[in-house]
Symmetry: C2
Subunit: 369 residues, 2 copies
């Protein structure tokens, strides 16, 4: 289902095509996050107009609300949310770790209480696969056990080894042949654990591999080192997905290390908080200096927000807490992210990716930590 | 600036054309409310796509935020919010009455404190005109003194007589000849006061007349009686605007009594609260019975929401408090209101308005008080 079509000579960046049940996806690709079956403050029409190739849905959220009876009634997530293009769902492991009241992690599965109403559940690897096959996403993820940062090597090893056993159970539980299943590399910030995780997953064999447990508070250097060591061990001919990362600089750095797929709430969440990514760096729209600024947010951006409105008007909407500012600012940030990935693909194919990488290192070097 | 083009034989309903600096408006017309220069949860592009002819802006809100310096810098509200079509602004009197901490109503003007930061201001009739001429709306309103419901005749009379004196001062203060100024009929629920108010305003002479102080808690019968007595006294050849009203049934009843223009926050506010107006009556999208309902909100509605999504998905978004549900539900309700006014105009011109009125009396009779 993955075909590599172009490689960068200077870095490990590559372009490919994912052939999925609901369509083709050009990689490297960014997947906007549609938590409960909707991108926050944006519609499916918006996402189509922006050229979104694939959406991400959160199994944890969808399992709790609207629940599987509703999704089954509609024959899957695609029809329920009216998104005819590819979807990837995560397994729910990360949200159990970060959102729910986690009662106990056992070999059997994750025992947790809903963050909405306190109801108790046990998410086993088998249930995670069953739910995701009902959701019917083009790509679904194995259940893994996340750990915080920093973590002792022993704790990281226990979670990684259990994640491997769960990955195996997920592979066995997979029933729908036409859907794709990705394994998830864990192992904290320990090179040997990451290597062992990669080897174990490749032994099981998946349609693709994700790198989990990064961007959890570690220094950027450690994150990049873990990407390097994982990519070294993963098969070149399979897609690689870096979960939940990150800033524009994180993304282009990861692409240069051989990553093909990304998701992150950053464009929408930062948009709602008034932080915009532009071709000239970050803009904090709250800043008083924009009060009378009649220029657009980003003169190079083709989005409706930038084509139409001044920074002064956008600042006014934000300061007035107008609902539509969530939409206008998210629209811009998602456009920026999708545009960045388009540029990345073009530059890899044109042999100019290294220049693009250097440009972004300079652009973001000062404004990002 | 107003030309009547068609009259209903059975009722006092009429169709007309308003020729305004930023374009023509077909009446009867509904003006969506763009409080601080934005329709809540919708964009200007949405409003254009829905066929909105004229927007309403709130002087009180815009005066406080972004403030006149910003609006002046942009040469008026049209350019600041990028709406090239007609705009009507209110005078701020109603918001001072309903939102601010009103310190004192004096002959000079209304002394109040901002609801945002407590800053003190005095809005005089002259200042209300000056601000609105800076905003540059195609139609602006005189400053009036609102009263609550119920009100003693004496209190209603004092406020109405002061509103007349203020209307005169507003007319004298008007400088921009090409902009239109409307007087506002007051007088509580007293026929003789409403008549006296109309006569006083017509003596001063305005480009149009509004009926204020209705839909403030009175029974529907009293509201309709006050519309009747006012329309009786207002010149047939000038446009009549019923301020802040109301439900679909209120609107069509008022049209049948000779009203040409409406504004109301109901379609957007009710949309955000999950109450939808449809061709079959009201829908409360929270209702459990929609949990598995794969039908659209309104099969007769051409809006994106109805064309695309099921009630079950809309309910899910609403229950999950997803931001985009504000947009999707507001989009539908505004479409319903604008569509209702289009139907009203068509039926007046075709001589079938009475049937439409009867249909709506039956449709809403049961679901509205």
């Amino acid at each position: 289902m993955f075909e590599m079509i172009s490689k960068c000579c200077d870095t490990k960046a590559r372009c490919g095509i994912l052939e999925l049940p609901h369509g083709r996806v050009e990689t490297p690709v960014f997947m906007p996050v549609g938590t409960v079956g909707a991108i926050k403050a944006l519609t499916q029409e918006d996402m189509e107009n922006l050229g979104t190739q694939i959406l991400l849905g959160n199994t944890y959220h969808l399992f709790l609300r609207p629940g599987m009876e509703v999704i089954k009634h509609f024959g899957g997530l695609h029809n329920f949310i009216k998104w005819p293009h590819p979807i990837l769902t995560d397994s729910g492991g990360f949200q159990i770790f970060s959102l729910s009241k986690l009662n106990k992690m056992k070999e059997e599965g994750a025992f947790f209480q809903s963050h909405i109403d306190g109801q108790r559940f046990c998410l086993t690897p088998e249930l995670a696969v069953e739910i995701q096959e009902i959701l019917g996403a083009d790509i679904h993820m194995v259940l893994d056990q996340c750990i915080g940062y920093p973590a002792e090597q022993q704790a990281a090893e226990i979670a990684m080894e259990r994640s491997l056993r769960w990955a195996k159970r997920c592979r066995v539980a997979k029933k729908k042949e036409h859907l794709n299943q990705f394994g998830i590399v864990q192992g904290g910030m320990y090179e040997n654990l990451r290597q062992r995780s990669c080897e174990g997953l490749v032994d099981i064999g998946f349609e693709g591999y994700a790198i989990g447990g990064l961007s959890v508070g570690e220094p950027k250097g450690e994150m990049l080192a873990m990407i390097d060591v994982s990519c070294e061990k993963l098969p070149l001919e399979k897609p690689r997905y870096l979960m939940g990362v990150g800033t524009p600089l994180d993304i282009i750095e990861a692409v240069s290390r051989g990553i093909d797929m990304f998701d992150c709430v950053m464009p929408t969440r930062n948009g709602r908080n008034g932080t915009l990514f532009t071709s000239r760096g970050k803009v904090n729209i709250k800043n008083l200096k924009y009060r009378l600024d009649d220029s657009s947010l980003d003169s190079e951006c083709p989005c409706y927000t930038c084509r139409t409105f001044s920074k002064a008007y956008l600042r006014h909407l934000f300061m007035s807490r107008e609902l539509v500012s969530h939409r206008l600012l998210s629209l811009h940030n998602v456009t920026y992210y999708l545009g960045l990935l388009t540029k990345i693909r073009e530059n890899i194919q044109n042999g100019t990716f290294k220049h693009l990488l250097e440009h972004h290192r300079k652009l973001w070097g000062s404004s990002e930590s």
